[in-house]
């Protein structure tokens, strides 16, 4: 059945068997329960949970804030990646190492820290309050937290592509008379767009599902600062499993579509920009 790449190496059945068993127990069975559970709902029940005003408000905030965070990261993350690859400056290694902090830091730690900083009496919040800008317990705070969460994604997807970009292309453009700005817009940027889009999509997807970093700073006010993951949690705490499941299914479908989009994007870009073999 399986054409082994080599007949010599042992362990195929053992490793594949173990892998499938593990996956089955840890992933597939739990995942399938969600769909089974969904089928126990009637359409009206499903619809009530998924399309209630409270849920719609949560969708809006989740998508809006995640989008804002991902866009912010796309711009500034790109700049961070650019400076890390192209320039020298004191503290560069430190910055490079710390880019991954949002990955490594537990989300609840991030959550309480951001809240403390941006609360009305916090380190930054206290300067914004007199200006009427409310960050903690407001949508803006959610966007800030989601920006934090997505920070490494754009930087780490753009960085390797930038590093691999051969300087010869820029030199060629220069010999052909292009200014630095023209070279950037016409030669460098197009080569980076796929990576940037991928980073954006990853940051967006991560932000959509984020819980720990936002549960503190948002304040969880239904219809105002409630996000979809918080809504799900809320329903679980009230043992409304049906409602929670319904909303979760919608989120899963969206995440799946995003993942699919990212995969397609990567395949398209490698086909378009990849080096062909010499004929």
């Amino acid at each position: 059945m399986a054409t082994k790449r080599t007949n010599v190496l042992p362990g195929f059945n053992l490793t594949l068997g173990f892998t499938l068993a593990y996956l089955g127990i840890v992933v597939l069975i739990p995942l399938s329960t969600i769909f089974f559970k969904t089928f126990t709902l009637t359409w009206p029940q499903f619809w009530a949970a998924v399309a209630s005003p409270r849920t719609i408000a949560a969708y809006r905030l989740s998508f809006g804030a995640s989008l804002a965070g991902a866009l912010t990261n796309s711009v500034f993350g790109f700049i961070v990646a650019w400076t890390l690859v192209r320039y020298e400056f004191p503290g560069k290694t430190l910055v490079d190492v710390m880019v991954d902090l949002p990955f490594a830091l537990p989300t609840s730690v991030a959550g309480i820290t951001l809240t403390a900083i941006y609360a009305g009496n916090g380190w930054i919040g206290r300067y914004l309050a007199p200006l009427g800008i409310k960050v903690a317990y407001a949508p803006l705070g959610v966007a800030v937290a989601l920006t934090f969460v997505g920070l490494p994604f754009v930087v780490r997807t753009v960085q390797p592509v930038l590093e691999d970009l051969d300087k010869e292309y820029e030199e060629a453009a220069a010999t052909l008379g292009a200014t630095r700005m023209q070279t950037f817009m016409l030669v460098i940027a197009p080569a980076l767009i796929p990576a940037l889009l991928t980073g954006f999509a990853l940051a967006f997807a991560r932000a959509l599902g984020e819980y720990g970093s936002v549960v503190f700073i948002s304040g969880n006010m239904p219809m105002r600062t409630e996000l979809v993951p918080l809504l799900i949690m809320s329903k679980l705490e009230q043992f409304d499993y049906a409602g929670a499941t319904a909303i979760a299914v919608v989120m899963l479908v969206v995440s799946f579509l995003l993942l699919l989009g990212v995969n397609m994007l990567q395949r398209w870009s490698s086909r378009r920009l990849g080096e062909a073999q010499d004929a």
Binding site: T175, R272, A279
Partner: protein, 357 residues
Amino acid sequence: MSIELRNISKKFGDFVAVDNISLHIETGELVALLGLSGSGKTTLLRIIAGLETPDTGEVLFHGEDAVDVSVRDRKVGFVFQHYALFRHMTVFENVAFGLRVLPRKARPAETEVARRVHELLKLVQLDFLADRYPSQLSGGQRQRVALARTLAVEPKVLLLDEPFGALDAKVRQELRRWLRRLHDEIKITSVFVTHDQEEALELANRIVVMNNGHVEQIGSAEEVYHHPANAFVYNFLGNVNLFHGRIENGRVFLGDTAVELESTHAHAHPDETGKAVLYVRPHLLEIVLQPNGKQTFPATVKSINPAGPQVKVELVAEWGDMVQVEISHDRYQALHLEPGANVFLRPKEQKLFVYQI
């Protein structure tokens, strides 16, 4: 446009890439910078282009100092070894690039751009590929597109960095001939970098042989091949045999036989004693069956390769060195050579190059 380089030097860290080189290139010439990796040839080319700044020295285009002229204002066409075609643009867009980035006032209308692009693509015989992407082209096609792209902005100088290095042997030969014809047609001042001496000998009006950052010799193909200035040049261009001999009281010996030196390239002083190295080209040695008074050296045939325009015979000289000799097929038939045969070698021209070590 003529190019003048005066006292150019360039270091990278501790590594001296170019060591005080001066060079003059006439308008319309096709000059080769020939040397091994690390000889400084690519660095020199990039200095001419403005892609590197020299530590000392001047670059003059048509007599005018180019030191403050940035690379984008120098109007040099640069062809890279790996083409550097913009992967996300079609062939057409690549060639049009230089025209489209011109400042507003100088920029031609799109119709004019299209006309020029197609003209150039026809010149390189690739008009039918205008809508393809570089990844869909073969290596040879990509290089021709790269060339068309540089020609689009009408440069005064064409610089090529090992332009055929990444291609197969056959494609390389075709493109070489093609470049020669192109240069004859357009007559643009061209400088190209190569480590392939065959390529340099075939293409260039003049060859600049470089080694370790300085110039060993500048001359036409004929000059550097037949009248090498020193051992390096002799060794680098064409095949060569290397003999180990010795000098005693100013006379050079290979084995037990004294070598008569009529060559003007001898570098042995009459009073010296020590080791010597001699160079002879394979086709400048004759194989004879008997010594006949003129200078001959005993050797034993090891192997014979008759496949090719000449017959290649490998021998072991009496003093131990391996020797390669090329003789015509007629001569080979006449000699009835076989492996193991004891014969004599005789230099055709008395042009042994002797170098004391």
